[in-house]
Structure formats: C-alpha cells, structure tokens
Symmetry: C2
Subunit: 189 residues, 2 copies
C-alpha cells in the first residue's frame, strides 16, 4: 500500500488511515485527492534562498522589512519555521538542503553551497553569516567547511550558542552540553 512508504507511517497506521479515508463522505476524500494533485504545482522553491515558496520567492525573501545584511544558513525549511516562531531573527535565510555526509554520499554539489558562496560574494555589504546547523557530526563538518570557504571573503561568521536547553537539568546533561554551557557562561547583570 502506497501509504506505508510515507515517513513515520507503519502498516498499522496505514491501514487505519485507509479505513478512515474510505469511511469519509465521498466528497471529502475526493477533495483531498484534488489538493494533492495540485500540491506540487503550487509549492515551489524560492529562487533566492531555496526555502519552500508559493511562487518565485518565499515569504521571507518577499518581505521588504527584513534585514538584508544578515544571512542565516539552515539545513532545511523546517528549521526556518522553528526560527521564525521565535521572532528573534529578522534577517534572510539560505537553505542548504542537508549537510555534507561522506557516509551517505552527500557531496558539495548536492547541496546549495556554491549558491551560498556566490550569494555572499555578490553582497559586499553583508554583515554576518549565522550558521544555524544542527549538532550532529556531519553538521559540524559542514559548518567548518563553510567557515573555511568564507574566510578569504572576510565575512563575520557566527554559530548558534550551545548550552542547556529549556527544562535541561544539569544533573542529567551530557558532558559536551555542560562543557559548552560552562564555556559559554555569561555575566549575569
């Protein structure tokens, strides 16, 4: 059954969904089919930052009130959603589409890395590139690679702070998180 190929859906859930869809009034299930038929045509990729978009540019790039001199590099569109929810960042984004992974055969040209370097080079008034990548080893390697490539351009490159998350108890924190928290301790005013 097609549904079992979807992420996070095993055979049991697939069966449950299939029965649910079959039990709906005829109109509802047909309408879902309609939506799916047009879904891919409606959602495209932003020409500038490779975020999901309806149209040529995404909502962030189209928003003229954003600070165009800050660029936040993320792995995927869901990261943008999470960061936008905080309302702590008002600059632009650049979606890599993953991270370098020799193990899984992901190399530079499968990501939007060349586009990133080009974008930074094309904007001499860019003030800061923020690497908002995850904490996996592959993400770290990708961050370091980007850092190396941006160095000759004299660009300020920052990365997100590491430390205790909300609800994080010191007693249960892993060593690297605690080390980062000590290392990144701040004056309490």
């Amino acid at each position: 059954m097609e549904l079992t190929r979807w992420p996070g859906i095993g055979p049991k859930t697939a069966r449950r969904l299939a029965i649910y869809l079959w039990q709906q009034p005829a109109g509802v299930t047909k309408k879902i089919g309609d939506l799916l038929q047009n879904y891919q045509a409606q959602i495209s990729i932003c020409r500038q930052c490779y975020n999901l978009a309806e149209g040529e540019t995404c909502a962030v790039c189209a928003d003229t009130s954003r600070d165009r001199n800050k660029l936040c590099v993320v792995e995927g569109p869901l990261d943008i959603e999470a960061i936008e929810r905080t309302e702590a960042y008002r600059g632009l984004y650049h979606v890599l589409g993953g991270v370098l992974s020799p193990m899984e055969g992901v190399e530079e040209d499968q990501l939007r890395l060349r586009e990133l370097f080009q974008r930074v080079q094309d904007r001499p008034d860019m003030e800061e590139v923020i690497l908002a990548l995850n904490t996996s080893l592959e993400s770290e390697i990708t961050a370091r690679y980007i850092r190396q490539r941006l160095k000759p351009m004299n660009m300020k490159v920052t990365r997100l702070g590491r430390g205790l998350p909300t609800g994080g108890d010191i007693e249960f924190a892993d060593e690297i998180t605690l080390m980062a928290a000590f290392d990144g301790r701040r004056t309490y005013n």
Copy 2:
C-alpha cells in the same frame, strides 16, 4: 511495604525487588543490610560547601589543586558529579540544597543561602561566582535573588550558557532555547 516509599519505585517494582532480595543467598541480603546500617554514619555533609563527604570536608574542598577563587553554586550534589565529569571546571562549589519555591514552601533559611553570602563576603579575593542552576522558573528566581544579594559585594556573577544541547535539532527546539541560542551566538573562528 517500605520499598514503595523510595523515589521511582512503584508497587510492582517493589514486589520484584522484594522477591529478588528474598531469593538471594542468605549472606548477600544480610550484607546489604549491614551496608545500609552504616551508610548514614559514613556519609556526611561537607562543612565548607555542603556537598556529600566522607569525613569533614568533601573530595573537592580537600583537593589543594583546586582554584579557590572561583565558586560554582549548584542545587544538589548530583550536579557536582555531572560537572566534575566534564573536567571543565577546577574551582570550588557551594550546594544550596534546592531552590526557593513559594509554592512548595521552600524559603531562604531552608537553603544554604546565608552560608553562601557569608562565604563570598569572607573571601575578598574571590573572582567569580558561577550560578549553575537548572532552567526551571524556581531556579531562575533563585538565581536572580542570589544575583541581587551579591551585587553590593561587587562580585562578578555569571550563569551557564543556554542554547542547543548535544543532539538538539533546530527543527524540534523550543522557542526559548532557540532564542537563547541566537542571543548567545558566537564568532566562529
């Protein structure tokens, strides 16, 4: 049954433990009894920092190689264990024994707060007090209270960095953690 009063032990586990203890060779269970009889006599509280100790001072306070001009304030002895595992900190500790909690009726004199302020006042060469408290609301309130009380002593007070923990994906991070991570971003050299 006595065992069900222990933390994290419900009636089922208690029954399982009871049967386990009964099934052991006679010597083993008796020996556990012996250990428990002497346990409280052997473990005491460090006179200086209120960490657990065997004897009058704990292992950290007794270690002459520690930096006596840094003081790390923690909620409990398990926090010290976690921080010691990182080997990132070489100063001394001060165990509060909890945090202020009006809801649970924990007030200043039930914690080692007066002892903390006295300790800081008695050491004019103290360089830094690091607040390594948890991230709960009560912990935050306690941290702020300590900060206020140490202000007139002109003491440098720091707190652990907040941000993404190890294995923390941006996509799933809560808003406060992400805001802290953005706020605490660091230049990537």
